[in-house]
């Protein structure tokens, strides 16, 4: 089955927010702070501008509380008396000419009383830099299993390591954008987003309006990767405030520079490992500390930290585990959701550390993993007993076979011994990714899906889940087709419009196909119940039944409903951080080959192999595309994508010097799926979208370590960084 909206995209007919033709629309832009922390003394509006021709909004124009409602309410919609990061929005301006509004923005000058900014989360804050509690720690979490200290005392080997990962920009190709208008007393927005109901709740809160006085519509969205999970609430509120005050529709479209600099990014992280092993190389103690830079506001950092620590122990069995995590408030631009949501950071550290352990205690990295990969019946760090029938060692062996791991190792040894300046290496990472919300998250969400019989006998799936490139429309259509026996033409996927669709939860956490897909199946069954037909009524018979129902019930529609139910046997203790952290995990083993040029210290990835067990694959082309896309995004994070910070701002907010991989920078990714249908996922699927972000970085850096004999611990492993490592090693 081809992608449902594929031809519209290939021919440029898909209508993104900036493509919408709206009568009388004006352009909105944002005046931002230039100060990482301080009190706002005065705002000067330049004399050369006739301000009466512009709509101008500041915090005093916000009808409700000046808060972006998310986990906390600490982030203002527009700065009031103080700023906490350099891109904090302060004033909004609109005009029908985009060029005029650009010029006007440049004529607004904000005067500050600067306060000491806290910009490096790795250093303890000085007293003047404290902005939250006693130490700027926003959130602490801890997982404990067994007795780590005792196990470490009895260990044959104890290996320590510290690993660091940098910020990463999403670089969805479509920048953030939103239009807002007021219609019949309802404030409506339409734009680029992942989670319409997050935006609805934030608008309802800050505009002081009931939920039915606000309407949110997702426009086709040109990529998200988490960057359009929480941020669109900000831009939607900004557009709405301008539309309310100016009484005209408003469009805000960020240009690339503003989008790179001012929107959220992946949390920078530091992860410390202290690992105890017995004489046979079995893990007997894992003591792990995870520290995230949260940036200036809470956003989603507590849940990113949660996923980070839960994945920090890796896909291994170990009886004594202690994982302590903390997220720290700084005056950097707020960090937010990004594909993988904390797990890529801790998997980088954990999988790199496995190779460091192997080198220190003199065992083969493959054998070390073979010995410790979790077997059915064993438990994770939170005490979640794994019993899904997946052979995780077989997943690894498949990746080793496909990549020719052992043969390549031998070839590289010979090559490296003879070549004057090129060094080749191969590296492995084995990892897992929890699908769906963490812990009791899905239970709290209470997601609802409607499947509606239309008068002509077609079936409409109504959910708030969004197509952002990952294939929601195609996956939902496929699941509904399989469940109803109808063809693709007879399945309509509704536009995510909060006036029409129920809250089926956000499009995040690799949950859409798995959790919401399963709800669609159950809602299809419920539709049959409402129609009064047998559970095996399919295809034309179902169509006929829908048409007959409409004939009998004029003016109404049959709505099949399903609400999330916890799969049986799942238990989670939020206070003790114990139990089933996820309903299920996807499992994977990736192998990377690299070639390092010791003249330039540039690393090229020459081969990538990605083997994973993701439940049942709903659509081979789309699933493969998710893996390949994630792998390349992770190659960028591992080697190229270096956010240069200056006073808490991204100094390289351009694609000219924030470098993401081109086609010529990456090899093809060999993808293989091992299928093991998951009973509670749509069509048997588990989540897979985030998984490929986890494995490539450690596999690549392990390969670089094998090639060069260095102990690289920090990404992005840029040529400059690698040069430092290689030359220092030589000097030592």
């Amino acid at each position: 089955m081809d992608r449902v909206e594929g031809l519209a995209k290939l021919t440029g007919r898909e209508r993104y927010v900036d493509d919408l033709a709206i009568q009388g629309v004006v352009w909105g832009m944002t005046v931002r702070s230039r100060c990482p922390r301080g009190r706002i003394k005065r705002i000067h509006f330049g004399d050369g501008v006739d301000w009466s021709r512009f709509v101008v909004v500041d915090h005093r124009d916000i009808p409700g509380p000046n808060e972006i409602l998310l986990i906390e309410r600490d982030q203002p919609v527009l700065a009031g008396d103080r700023v906490r990061h350099v891109h904090e929005p302060i004033v909004l301006i609109a005009h029908e000419s985009r060029e005029m509004v650009r010029r006007a923005v440049a004529q607004v000058r904000v005067e500050y009383d600067p306060e000491p900014a806290y910009l490096d989360y790795r250093l303890p804050p000085r007293p003047g830099q404290i902005q939250f509690g006693e130490d700027n720690v926003l959130k602490r979490l801890c997982i404990e299993k067994g007795d780590v200290e005792r196990a470490l005392r009895g260990a044959a080997h104890v290996v320590e390591g510290v690993y660091e990962t940098g910020a990463q920009e999403h670089v969805y190709l479509e920048n953030q954008g939103m239009v807002a208008w007021v219609e019949d007393g309802v404030v409506a927005v339409k734009g680029s987003m992942q989670c319409p109901y997050y935006v609805l709740n934030a608008m309802s809160h800050a505009l002081g309006r009931a939920a039915d006085e606000v309407r949110v519509i997702q426009a086709p969205t040109g990529g998200g990767f988490g960057g359009k999970e929480d941020y669109p609430s900000n831009i939607a509120l900004h557009a709405a405030l301008l539309a309310i005050k100016g009484d005209r529709p408003v469009k805000i479209i960020y240009d690339r520079g503003e989008d790179l600099a001012a929107t959220t990014k992946r949390h920078p992280a530091t992860v410390r490992h202290r690992t105890g092993l017995d004489r046979d190389g079995r893990l007997i103690a894992q003591d792990i500390e995870v520290i995230l830079d949260a940036g200036a506001y809470v956003t989603l950092s507590p849940v990113v930290l949660s996923r980070a620590i839960i994945h920090a122990g890796g896909p291994y069995a170990c009886d004594n585990v202690r994982i302590r995590g903390r997220a720290i408030l700084t005056n950097a631009v707020p960090f937010g959701a990004f594909r993988g949501f904390g797990a890529p950071q801790t998997h980088f550290a954990g999988e790199r550390h496995m190779d460091v352990i192997a080198a220190r205690i003199g065992v083969d990295p493959v054998d070390l993993r073979r010995r410790n990969l979790i077997r059915d019946g064993q438990s994770t760090s939170t005490g979640q007993v794994i019993h899904d029938g997946t052979d995780r060692v077989a997943v690894m062996d498949r990746a080793l076979d496909l990549s020719g791991y052992r043969a390549r190792q031998r070839e590289h040894e010979a090559f490296n011994a003879s070549h004057p300046y090129l060094r080749r290496g191969i590296g492995l990472a084995t990892f897992h990714h929890g699908a769906g919300f963490t812990g009791a998250g899905e239970v709290f969400l209470k997601s609802v899906v409607h499947v509606v019989g239309l008068p002509d006998g077609r079936v409409e799936v109504r959910s708030a889940n969004t197509e952002i490139g990952q294939g929601t429309l195609t996956a939902f259509s496929k699941v509904a087709q399989d469940r109803t026996g109808l063809d693709g033409e007879s399945i309509v996927i509704a536009e995510p419009d909060t006036a029409r669709v129920p809250n089926s939860g956000p499009t995040v956490a690799s949950r859409t196909a798995m959790v919401v897909g399963h709800l669609i199946e159950r809602a299809c069954d419920d539709l049959r119940r409402i129609l009064g037909v047998d559970a095996d009524t399919r295809g034309q018979a179902l169509r006929d039944a829908i048409i007959a129902w409409h004939a009998d019930n004029p003016g109404r529609e049959p709505v099949g409903t399903a609400q999330y139910r916890k799969p049986p046997g799942i238990q989670w203790d939020e206070d003790r951080y114990q139990g089933d952290a996820y309903a299920t995990f996807a499992w994977a083993a990736y192998v990377a080959q690299v070639e390092v040029d010791l003249r330039t210290f540039a690393t090229s990835v020459t081969s990538m192999t990605a083997v994973q067990e993701v439940g049942r694959v709903l659509n081979e082309t789309l699933a493969r595309g998710q893996i390949q896309g994630g792998v390349v995004q992770a190659i960028g994070w591992a080697l190229l994508e270096d956010v240069a910070w200056k006073d808490g701002a991204m100094a390289n907010a351009q694609l000219t010097n924030y470098i993401i991989p081109t086609s010529f920078d990456v090899p093809p990714t060999r993808v293989q799926f091992i299928e093991n249908p998951y009973a509670h996922g749509g069509g048997g699927a588990k989540g897979l979208g985030e998984l490929p972000m986890d494995g490539p970085a450690p596999a690549i850096v392990n390969a670089v370590a094998a090639a060069t004999g260095t102990e690289a611990t920090t990404i992005p492993l840029t040529p400059e960084r690698l040069m430092g490592l290689v030359l220092n090693d030589d000097a030592a």
């Binding site: 081809d2 992608r3 909206e5 594929g6 031809l7 519209a8 995209k9 290939l10 021919t11 440029g12 898909e14 209508r15 993104y16 900036d18 493509d19 033709a21 000419s97 060029e99 005029m100 010029r103 999403h170 670089v171 969805y172 190709l173 479509e174 920048n175 086709p220 040109g222 990529g223 998200g224 990767f225 240009d255 690339r256 520079g257 952002i468 490139g469 990952q470 294939g471 082309t621 789309l622 493969r624 595309g625 893996i627 390949q628 896309g629 994630g630 792998v631 390349v632 995004q633 351009q654 694609l655 000219t656 993401i660 081109t662 086609s663 010529f664 920078d665 990456v666 093809p668 990714t669």
Partner: protein, 165 residues
């Protein structure tokens, strides 16, 4: 400092757009991308970065792919411009089947570059598809679906040439 846009004199530019003669009044510093999108309603061409790095806004100028965000509209005077709207949808089956599009924001530019390669097969004597597509950033596909789709487009083209012959 240049005059504000509402005080500037517009200039007149005549060009051939998707095979048709067009005359348009534009601001002197206007980008071809904006003229296409906001004056002429050809919104298939997308803006990705506005600085010639990403290729999302690729159009063909006298048969050569250019980043329309870097071309002042006056430079298109007397030239032949083709946009994504000129591409025959029936040609794109291979790109659909290979998964060459995901979010679609880079896709019109990718298709314009792919069509250019298809029309200049001699490029493949000295360059790989992977190399020729390096001017079009994509954040979704990891490029494999694009490379495979472009190869398919070339194969389909050859099959058609064969039939014609």
């Amino acid at each position: 400092m240049t005059m504000p846009p509402d005080q500037q004199e517009r200039i007149s530019v005549a060009l051939t757009l998707n095979g048709r003669a067009v005359r348009v009044q534009v601001e002197p510093n206007e980008r071809l991308l904006d003229t296409l999108r906001y004056r002429l309603g050809l919104i298939g061409t997308k803006e990705g970065c506005g600085e010639g790095e990403c290729g999302a806004c690729t159009v063909s100028m006298d048969g050569v792919p250019v980043n329309s965000c870097l071309v002042p509209t006056w430079q298109a005077r007397g030239r032949r411009i083709e946009t994504i709207e000129s591409v025959e949808p029936g040609r794109l089956g291979a790109l659909l089947g290979s998964g060459a599009t995901q979010c679609g924001a880079c896709t019109p530019g990718v298709v314009m570059a792919a069509c250019w390669i298809a029309e200049h097969r001699e490029l493949l004597r000295t360059h790989t598809i992977r190399e020729l597509m390096a001017g079009n950033l994509c954040r979704c596909t990891g490029y494999d679906g694009i490379i495979e789709g472009v190869q398919g487009l070339l194969d389909d083209g050859l099959a058609e040439d064969g039939r014609d012959g």
